[in-house]
């Protein structure tokens, strides 16, 4: 064991992913590096085809890197077998996808409880965790509904509850607002900010820069590479804000 990656919840170095094509290989990610500290909320953004989802999938063990290193909470994970990755994901990672991916023939409550149980909770603990999460996310009255009866925004909030059910070290979100209208986007974003305020580490991929700007850091990707990794600091002087702000008060 080296000390690399210690201290950070996630660290990746020189990550590359090449997909074999029919005639030519396509490199989706070339030499990406990033570190996420505990409790940090970072957004990865960039145009479609920039490699941001591929990067997130590698970091969550859904895609194996061609080369490079990934450290999760100080443990090297990039060479793990699929079976070990699956256990790690169930226990320590929460995933939110663009298309919700809820189990359609289970109730909202069961979707969340199942994730808690797979994360190692007892039935009783899972039920308590589900009640806590659904009420926190404003979904308590939908507990016994089928996912299909919910709006897109509600389904994504259920998906967020499911992702949080195992109290993950790291929450990974792949275009979580990509299929939502602006009101539902704002609601999901508010919830992400709230769980972040409670200390949740979040790494989110989005092409929506309004969503990205809610993070502590914005990582810009282009053509498979990280081209900027910027802490979000408010403009240093109020006069730097657009004139619209003068209408306030």
């Amino acid at each position: 064991m080296t000390g690399a990656g210690q201290g950070a919840v996630l660290r990746a170095a020189s990550l590359t992913k090449t997909f074999a094509g029919d005639s030519v290989a396509v490199t989706a990610v070339r030499g990406a590096a990033l570190t996420l500290e505990h409790g940090e909320f970072a957004a990865i953004t960039g145009p479609s085809g920039a490699g941001k989802s591929t990067l997130l999938h590698m970091l969550g063990g859904l895609e194996r890197p061609t080369s490079g290193e990934i450290w999760l909470n100080g443990q090297r994970v990039d060479r793990m077998s699929q079976a070990r990755w699956a256990v790690l994901r169930r226990r320590h990672i929460g995933f939110v996808f663009q298309f919700f991916n809820l189990v359609s023939n289970m109730t909202v409550a069961d979707n969340v409880e199942l994730a808690a149980i797979m994360g190692g909770a007892s039935r009783k603990q899972a039920r308590a965790r589900r009640e806590e999460l659904l009420s926190e996310l404003g979904l308590a009255e939908k507990a016994q509904s089928a996912p299909a009866r919910l709006s897109g925004g509600e389904q994504q909030r259920v998906a967020l509850a499911r992702a949080m059910a195992n109290r993950p070290l790291l929450l990974l979100a792949d275009e979580p607002t990509g299929n939502l209208d602006s009101a539902a986007t704002a609601a999901v974003l508010r919830l992400l900010c709230r769980v972040h305020a409670d200390g949740q580490s979040i790494l989110l991929v989005t092409h929506d820069l309004r969503v990205a700007s809610a993070a502590d850091r914005v990582i810009s990707m282009f053509d498979g590479m990280v081209v900027d990794d910027a802490p979000m600091t408010p403009p240093s002087h109020p006069t730097l804000l657009p004139d619209v702000l003068k209408l306030r008060g």
Binding site: V227, P234, L241, V244, R248
Partner: protein, 166 residues
């Protein structure tokens, strides 16, 4: 007008007519070049302010021409201009000037220029998001959202700049 002339002079000394031709070549229809009179007036003011200096060059077959050159203060002014983030949103875009002229100044790589501008817009977007959440009245909120949409368009356009010129 002042900063584009200083930026062009950062590359090499030139006389007024050369500067006009260069402006036309760089900006085309995007920024119609000012007439030669405006350029000479601006150059005189820049000289008065100590940002450029000039000397007459004797020509045998034509009238003498006055060649302008950047002073240290002028070079500092143009570096500061290139490195400062610019206000938005607008149609006539100062950032576009910087992007087009930065190779002449030798002070800034274009990716760095785009990244700094993106950070600046993102920070504004975040401030506006926070304000939009706090805004209770519909009309101010709509105006804030309008400003955010302008910023999103500016950010999309930065992406295009990156695709085309970096």
């Amino acid at each position: 007008m002042r900063m584009p002339l200083l930026a062009l002079l950062a590359k090499e000394p030139a006389h007024g007519y050369e500067l006009k031709t260069q402006l036309e070549q760089i900006f085309g229809e995007a920024y119609p070049a000012p007439n030669i009179g405006q350029i000479y007036v601006t150059l005189q003011r820049l000289e008065r302010d100590g940002l450029v200096c000039s000397q007459d060059v004797v020509q045998t077959t034509r009238p003498n021409k006055r060649v302008y050159e950047l002073t240290d203060a002028g070079r500092e002014a143009v570096i500061n201009w290139i490195d400062q983030p610019s206000e938005g949103p607008r149609v006539r875009d100062e950032f576009f000037m910087k992007l087009a002229l930065s190779p002449h100044t030798g002070t800034s790589d274009r990716l760095g220029l785009i990244n700094r501008q993106r950070r600046y817009y993102l920070a504004q977007l975040r401030s506006l998001s926070e304000l939009a959440v706090a805004a209770e009245r519909r009309i101010p909120r709509l105006l804030i959202e309008g400003a955010m949409l302008h910023l999103q368009a500016d950010l999309d356009w930065l992406q295009r700049c990156q695709e085309e010129v970096v």
